[in-house]
Structure formats: structure tokens, C-alpha cells
Amino acid sequence: MQIGRVVGTVVSTQKHRKFEGAKLLLVQPLAMDDTPRGAPLLAVDGVGAGVHEKVLIVLEGRAAGEALGRKAAPVDAAIVGIIDTVTISG
């Protein structure tokens, strides 16, 4: 899983039926020091996240489909939690 920050929202009318009712958010992946890492991606929201929030994302199809609560959904990324804190102690 990766940590990211929600940076935007995406609106799509014409989409695969498994996306109906799903919220699509743009997420910027972050390094552990909160600097942006790589290009922003689209994730379905399984937890009610909003813009500016720091979130945990899964980047794997089966897990993302489960987060969305739909089997065989053509998704590859989902937000599975809103992060309160990350502590690196090692």
C-alpha cells in the first residue's frame, strides 16, 4: 500500500457500470517525508475521503475491487483509509 494525498475530484458520466455510484478521486502519492512521488493517479473512494486528506491507497486490482465492495470491477486503485498519523521510528 502507499500513502497519498487527495488533490482533486473526477467526474465521468459515460463509464463502466461497475463504477456507478463510486466516487473517483485524484491522489498524489507521497514519500514518507510527505514529498510528492510520481504522477497523480485515480482511485475509487471506499471510505468517504475528501480533498486535502492524507489517505492509504491499495494499488492492486482484487483488493481495490473489494474496497469498492464489487466483485470483478475493472479497478486498480482504491482509498482504504484516512490517515491520522504516520510515525517512523526505525
Binding site: T9, K15, K18, L26
Partner: protein, 88 residues
């Protein structure tokens, strides 16, 4: 998933039988400020997208799910046409 613009299509006569009837499009991934990022790739189309449209696509075996019970051998698929997006 990733944002992209459809920039072309691919036509094949000789192909895997599970690809028969499936449209193949060339997509250029985009950043949220509509700039090209990375290399273009070929994706199957599950939503009736066309050249010039902004779309989002899924990577991995999940790209084949819209064609169930057929299991086309693909690793990228367009699953939505984007009306607009907003970055804050």
C-alpha cells in the same frame, strides 16, 4: 487508474480469438494539468471512447473484466470517459 487522452487506434486482422470484436485504442497518459506524461500505450475500450477524448484507464488483468465471460489477454483498458476534473 490514470487519466489519458485517446490519440489513435490499432487495427489487427490476425489476433487472439478473444480479441475479436474488441476495439483497441492508443492512449497518452496525462497529468492533472492535461500535460502528456510517460509513453503512449494500447488499451482496450470498454466504454465507446473516441480519438481526442479524455478518459481514464485501468491497468492489469482487471482491464479484461468488462468483457466477461470472455477473457481477452490484455493489461490496460479504458473504463470511463471524463467529463471534467478539478484539482485544488
Amino acid at each position: 487508474m490514470q487519466l489519458a487522452r485517446v490519440i489513435g487506434d490499432v487495427v489487427m486482422t490476425r489476433k487472439d480469438e478473444n480479441l475479436v470484436g474488441i476495439t483497441l485504442l492508443v492512449v497518452q497518459p496525462l497529468t492533472p494539468d492535461h500535460q502528456p506524461v510517460g509513453r503512449p500505450l494500447v488499451a482496450v475500450d470498454a466504454v465507446g471512447a473516441g480519438v481526442g477524448e479524455e478518459v481514464f484507464f485501468v491497468r492489469g488483468k482487471e482491464a479484461s473484466f468488462p468483457f466477461y465471460p470472455a477473457e481477452p489477454p490484455v493489461d490496460a483498458g479504458i473504463v470511463g470517459i471524463v467529463d471534467h476534473w478539478d484539482v485544488e
